[in-house]
Symmetry: C2
Subunit: 243 residues, 2 copies
């Protein structure tokens, strides 16, 4: 990739990914972070030149991003939609929707193994905090919720999650990197909230789960703010690059 800027997406998570996937991950991060502004028109040829690959993987990446609703494929070029405050809230609407659905199913299941897995993941999150590893923390955070969602074995709920996950992950990554530098205390609260979630699942306590979910989602406002900070910070070091 021609521009020697640091990648926004952790490269070590891409060990087995195809070129198309790599580019999708990187483009996604640039769009979410605001480095590529909403309204920008992306051309397959330009992108191929920028990333120094052929159009094949570029096309693949663009189709992926289009299915995630952060770009829109048009006749002449792909238009960047990006994430405004509205979109971020909508993403969390959907997450709230599916996690609530999932919880109703969980109540009727044996959740012993799930609770165990979640505890393990939470332990890993604590270690990540201890060692100031924002990326690892984000990864485990995403895995925490993925574990819950997948646990009910509902293929179409999982499908929705699969569509939502990449953008979600990017959002969390940017937010957490910011917090690790500026709002370190947040993590105590985040960990506590996840513990609450595990308790709710173990006790199959609907009220507790709702409470935990809501505290979680009150945090969304924080994420939105983090994202703006992140966007400002990132765009300072970047010249306008669409000649």
């Amino acid at each position: 990739m021609s521009e020697s800027k640091d990648y926004l997406y952790p490269q070590k998570w891409l060990s087995k990914a195809s070129t198309g996937d790599r580019i999708a991950y990187e483009l996604r991060m640039r769009i979410i972070s605001g480095i590529i502004e909403s309204g920008t028109i992306l051309s397959e040829n330009k992108l191929a030149a920028d990333f120094e690959v052929s159009r094949s993987p570029i096309r693949e990446a663009l189709r992926t991003l289009a299915s995630e609703n952060i770009i829109r494929l048009e006749k002449m070029g792909a238009v960047v939609i990006g994430l405004s405050e509205k979109e971020i809230e909508e993403i969390y609407d959907v997450r709230l929707l599916i996690e609530t659905f999932v919880f109703e199913r969980l109540i009727k299941m044996d959740t012993t193994n799930l609770a165990l897995e979640l505890s393990k993941t939470l332990e890993m999150m604590k270690v990540a905090i201890k060692y100031n590893d924002a990326d690892e923390f984000s990864y485990q955070d995403v895995m925490f919720h993925e574990a819950i969602i997948r646990s009910i074995g509902h293929s179409y709920i999982t499908m929705i999650w699969n569509n939502l996950k990449p953008v979600m992950e990017g959002l969390i990554l940017l937010s957490m990197r910011m917090r690790f530098t500026e709002k370190y205390d947040d993590f105590t609260r985040i960990v506590k909230n996840h513990e609450l979630y595990i308790d709710a699942i173990q006790a199959k306590d609907r009220k507790l789960m709702i409470k935990s979910l809501h505290e979680n989602f009150d945090d969304v406002q924080g994420k939105v703010e983090d994202l703006w900070k992140s966007q400002q910070m990132l765009s300072k070091g970047v010249e306008s690059q669409d000649d």
Copy 2:
């Protein structure tokens, strides 16, 4: 396309579609209808030969179908998942989920225009019934629900719908074609139920909406049965075609 069998997907709906989209639509119908059985391994080369096109549009189609969860891309070939009874119920779970969400938003909005549009669509459904046009009926049925879902302007709910719609549409097409030949009386009930839905939206009556939704979903069991009939009928005229 080499096999001169009739297409399952209405060709006139594909006037502006690319080759890749056409193939996605046709493959999807064959998978939903069971002509291509669950477990089958699809190879890009074979499909390209069958449809007499290059691998480019085939790859595009396969990625689309994978995002809809009816095939699974693996290292060596795409594995057909298909629709068992479980998957069909899951699809309706999701539709129930998002339509319930949508209704909660609708309650806070002005629904005059929407109700008008739905009435128009319902009129068209009636005409389609009168002229025995199963495909047109299906189209309007899908549009009915799409109009509702899009009306709240929630891009990520719309995104879920976009992912669900093609399979949904295929399912409805097959089911309605069957009913037009065997269970003509069903349509009186379907129309009535849609009228109920419009009433609920106009009156912003949550209870009525739930009632209508549930009658609608009780119908799902019917759809499942239709699909099996459809699969049996279709597979009678087809030799095993995977040499």
